[in-house]
């Protein structure tokens, strides 16, 4: 692997419509291996939709998504997982009646990780799930369910990991802890895209952010720079004033 940051994901001119509503309207950005990229923007700006399209939940209505130069737009989710794309969900969606261990076993068995994934034991240990390993997922608290959701994604050894509001609802200690974990994941060469409302968290972990509004990007660069750009301020403050 080269030491320079090679671009893994390319999104160009992505369009997604729901009826007449353009949830994504020509979104373009890229993400490199080993990089943590933040996706920020007001509610309804298209952050989650873009994750849903990239992870194959929705087929795009226009534009292009490439992974390592290969077009992946419209490919079914499970195939994307096999290609090395995975994600977590804003509201975690574990398999409620299965135990934690079984939840992980499914992803380990079907993820077709190209590099040998860590064992279930290691993953549970790392994400503090060992003591609930044999309990059904329905008995887990919200933070534990989020970790299980993350572990499910990690068990497939993704090259590109999309985190949809993973930090929401975690307490400050947990936040510090999970930041460190995410950074460690990036260190292994994983490209990570983080959708988050907590700006502190974004600032703490991201190398770069994309600011979105109305389905497209309006800024790309460091968060510290972004908050000084008038257009970005207007989107955030204007949006809130209007509301």
């Amino acid at each position: 692997m080269s030491l320079s940051l090679t671009s893994l994901l390319h999104v160009t001119g992505l369009v997604k419509r729901f009826g007449g509503f353009h949830a994504l309207d020509g979104l373009s950005f890229h993400a490199a291996a080993g990089e943590i990229l933040g996706l920020v923007g007001p509610n309804g700006s298209g952050k989650t939709t873009s994750i849903n399209v990239i992870s194959g939940l929705y087929a795009p209505d226009g534009g292009n998504v490439t992974l390592d130069g290969v077009s992946i737009g419209g490919i079914a989710s499970h195939k994307l997982v096999h290609l090395g794309v995975n994600r977590t969900f804003q509201i975690p969606k574990p398999f409620l009646s299965l135990t934690v261990r079984e939840n992980i076993a499914v992803a380990l068995a079907y993820g077709r990780a190209q590099v040998a994934p860590p064992t279930a034991e290691a993953l549970m240990d790392e994400y503090r799930l060992t003591e609930v390993a044999d309990r059904p997922a329905s008995e887990l608290n919200n933070a534990q369910q989020k970790m299980l959701d993350l572990v499910r994604a990690l068990a497939t050894r993704p090259r590109l990991l999309l985190l949809d509001e993973l930090a929401a609802g975690l307490n400050p200690t947990e936040l510090d802890w999970i930041s460190a974990r995410i950074k460690a994941l990036a260190q292994t060469g994983m490209a990570i895209i983080v959708v988050e409302h907590l700006m502190g968290f974004i600032e703490q972990i991201t190398d770069r952010v994309i600011v979105m509004n109305a389905g497209k990007e309006i800024f790309e660069g460091k968060l510290a720079v972004a908050v000084k750009v008038p257009q970005v301020i207007e989107v955030f403050l204007g949006g809130e004033h209007a509301a």
Partner: protein
């Protein structure tokens, strides 16, 4: 392996020995048939969450697959049973678009499909092929001993499938699909293919059961083998025992069908009333099935 040895083998041995000591072989045969059907429901409902309200469609199609093979191609009965299974699978494949539906929609569409197959088979326009509403008589292949043995083989196969599902990551993945298809696809599971495979496996065992039933009963009308009672009984038995387990449907069939016949033999005058009340009480007080009595205490039920 442990499950095969401790659950399936004893079950098969018991049902293989029972005809020697109990003479109502047809009752035993019906037990075996309902064990197969309840486990078939378990495969599709327990592991994927689709309630096959028209499950009898596969059963009836299998029975007619058997009949047509025997009548028109003069095949041997075991051969015809295999055809019956194939017919079940073919019908399952044909109906696989129904899997796009969920919840009650699937259940209702499946019920409609079974009725459609019944009315298709029973239509006088198809008299040359199915004998339409006039019924079939297959006395040439009638052989209760062999048919019973064949039913046991079908049961063994069915139990084998369920044991595999219970002990494999394939079964785990199916349950994941049942719990949350989106999340399952993000675990790398091909949701559509998994569902279709479970659906076809379930159709296969029902088709085989239908073939064996046709072999044993040998004289029947469309209304006999497409009776919705088969679907409803199989579902009620499976749910009563507890689905997504190996033992649940077995307990369900043995207990509930046992009670059913006991009422039928002893108090026929209030048969329907007692049975209806029994079902209601069970759903209200044991909604997760008999095995929930054990799981509530934290015991793992195979």
């Amino acid at each position: 392996m442990r499950h095969l040895l401790l659950i399936v083998l004893p079950l098969l041995v018991i049902f293989a020995l029972l005809p020697g000591v109990y003479q109502n072989h047809l009752l035993l045969f019906n037990f075996v048939i309902f064990l197969v059907l309840a486990q078939g429901v378990n495969i599709i409902y327990g592991f994927t969450g689709y309630l096959p309200f028209g499950y009898v469609g596969f059963f009836g199609a299998g029975a007619y697959g058997f009949a047509i093979t025997v009548m028109h191609y003069h095949a041997s009965a075991p051969m015809a049973v295999l055809v019956a299974g194939a017919v079940g699978v073919a019908l399952g494949l044909f109906l696989s678009p129904l899997l796009r539906l969920s919840g009650a929609y699937f259940a209702i569409a499946n019920m409609a499909a079974a009725l459609a197959v019944l009315h298709f088979v029973a239509n006088p326009a198809l008299e040359d092929i199915t004998r339409g509403p006039y019924g079939v008589s297959l006395t040439g292949t009638f052989n209760p001993t062999l048919a019973y043995a064949a039913a046991l083989i079908v049961l063994a196969l069915t139990m084998g499938i369920v044991v595999f599902l219970k002990n494999s990551s394939f079964g785990l993945a199916l349950q994941a699909v049942r719990e949350d298809p989106v999340s399952a696809s993000m675990a790398g599971v091909n949701v559509v293919r998994m569902r279709v495979i479970a659906w076809l496996a379930s159709a296969l065992v029902a088709g085989l059961a239908g073939g064996v039933y046709a072999w044993y009963v040998s004289v029947f009308f469309p209304d006999n083998v497409f009776s919705s009672d088969f679907s409803i009984f199989a579902i009620v038995f499976a749910l009563f025992g507890g689905v997504a387990t190996i033992t649940g449907p077995i307990i369900g069939v043995v207990a509930l069908y046992g009670v059913y016949n006991l009422i039928g033999f002893t108090t026929p005058q209030y048969f329907q009333l007692i049975y209806g009340l029994l079902i209601m009480v069970l759903v209200l007080f044991l909604p997760a099935g008999l095995v929930s009595l054990a799981t509530r205490r934290g015991w793992r039920v195979p």
